[in-house]
């Protein structure tokens, strides 16, 4: 009996201590980790969309623009599990485009895509890839402009699917699954934006 008790006590104690230690460490690093994802993943995607809206950025402008995009981000509660994070791109001082992130199922897990929509017309203006774990050299080519720029000039009735599935998006050879994931994410974002367009407009004009 005593030996059973000892097993239980020792294992429980070790688990307890490690739980507390990890909790404390998480507290210390969580904010830094979140801000890394924001700065190194989401922001570059938003700034590519910014470039298609406003025009190309010189390297020395980029940092300042990214700073102001970061400062002007808003979160809106749209009935999702978590409030939705939106970046607002301004043109001539007025909110012009909002970007939101959605995910598609890629070859190596979730593939995040930031897509930008014009506030007035609801038109898709451009996309940027945020997080992914696709096969290097194959699926990772979805970040190349030759693929992403297709989305910039899609007509309103375009079907956002790869051509193999009957849509209007040219997939990259050998990377159909990754391209399909991007298309799914963009389509999801489009539906989401259309559904909540009014609320999003309200939120950006505040």
């Amino acid at each position: 009996m005593a030996s059973y008790l000892r097993m239980i006590i020792v294992l429980s104690l070790i688990t307890l201590i490690s739980g507390f230690a990890l909790g404390a460490l998480n507290e210390m690093t969580y904010e830094q980790a979140e801000s890394n994802v924001l700065r190194f993943k989401k922001l570059p995607a938003v700034s590519t969309i910014f470039e298609t809206v406003v025009g190309p950025l010189a390297p020395d402008q980029r940092a300042a623009v990214e700073q102001s995009l970061l400062a002007e981000r808003i979160t809106v509660d749209l009935g999702e599990k978590e409030p939705t994070l939106l970046f607002v791109i301004k043109k001539d001082g007025k909110p012009h485009t909002v970007t939101l992130e959605k995910f598609g199922q890629g070859f190596g897990g979730d593939l995040g895509v930031m897509s930008g929509y014009q506030l007035e017309t609801g038109k898709l203006v451009g996309i940027g890839i945020t997080t992914m774990s696709e096969t290097p050299g194959v699926g990772t080519r979805v970040t190349e402009s030759i693929f992403t720029e297709q989305f910039n000039s899609l007509s309103d009735d375009a079907v956002i699917k790869v051509k193999k599935d009957g849509g209007d998006i040219d997939a990259l050879a050998g990377a159909t699954i990754s391209c399909r994931a991007v298309a799914t994410a963009v389509e999801q974002a489009k539906v989401f934006f259309r559904t909540h367009q009014d609320k999003i407009k309200q939120a950006t004009s505040k």
């Binding site: 097993m7 490690s18 998480n26 830094q32 890394n36």
Partner: protein, 199 residues
């Protein structure tokens, strides 16, 4: 004193993990596409190995035999999650490229293997030397494989020489998984030949 030194050095040549023990091959094959990844993975594993070795050896008289593996896994997993949080917060690019393989250090057989085979039978200082030696051996192997695969597979060595291109048309195959097997196999063969000559 001499035993401590020999516990340390055995991990660097005589029992160097991926080549002599042929253990922990999952990260060896998966993350060594570049020198930076290899080095980062090696150092992360070394940190976990050293910490878990020391703690398990310190607790060896407290932990009952029947539940030892469960205790070891909890200890190892704790340190692994520490590494994961720290890389996510302070070495973001590295954590992006290592991805899933950091959490997978939990099931790296070198770490549980050293706990089971060494730390639970030896004192803290000896376990520290053992963990340090094994970890550095592991790091060294991963770094060398990473260098070979990056130089010949991508034509450059980002960590040391930036964008300088060594090979204009690199051997792309080495960057992919089958290439990792080939490099590992050739290095194993090389180590065996070298070992025979030295002996």
């Amino acid at each position: 004193m001499s035993t401590i030194v020999s516990e340390f050095t055995k991990g660097l040549w005589k029992e160097i993990p991926p080549f002599r023990l042929v253990l922990g091959l999952c990260p060896v094959l998966a993350v060594t596409t570049t020198m930076e990844n290899g080095l980062g993975m090696g150092l992360s594993a070394t940190f976990v190995l050293v910490c878990s070795n020391v703690l398990i050896s310190a607790l060896r008289k407290v932990i009952p035999d029947e539940v030892r593996v469960a205790c070891y896994i909890v200890v190892i997993a704790t340190f692994v999650v520490c590494v994961e949080m720290i890389t996510k917060a302070y070495f973001f690019q590295l954590s992006e490229s290592l991805g899933l393989f950091i959490p997978l250090i939990v099931v790296n057989c070198i770490i549980l293997g050293r706990a089971e085979a060494f730390a639970r039978k030896n004192g803290v200082v000896k376990s520290l030397a053992d963990g340090l030696g094994m970890g550095l051996g592991f790091t060294l192997s991963l770094t060398v494989i990473g260098i070979v695969r990056e130089v010949f597979g991508a034509g450059k060595l980002d960590l040391l020489f930036g964008d300088t291109v060594f090979i204009a048309e690199p051997f792309d195959f080495l960057q992919q998984a089958p290439g990792a097997f080939v490099v590992l196999g050739l290095m194993l063969a090389g180590m065996n030949i070298l070992g025979r000559i030295i002996d």
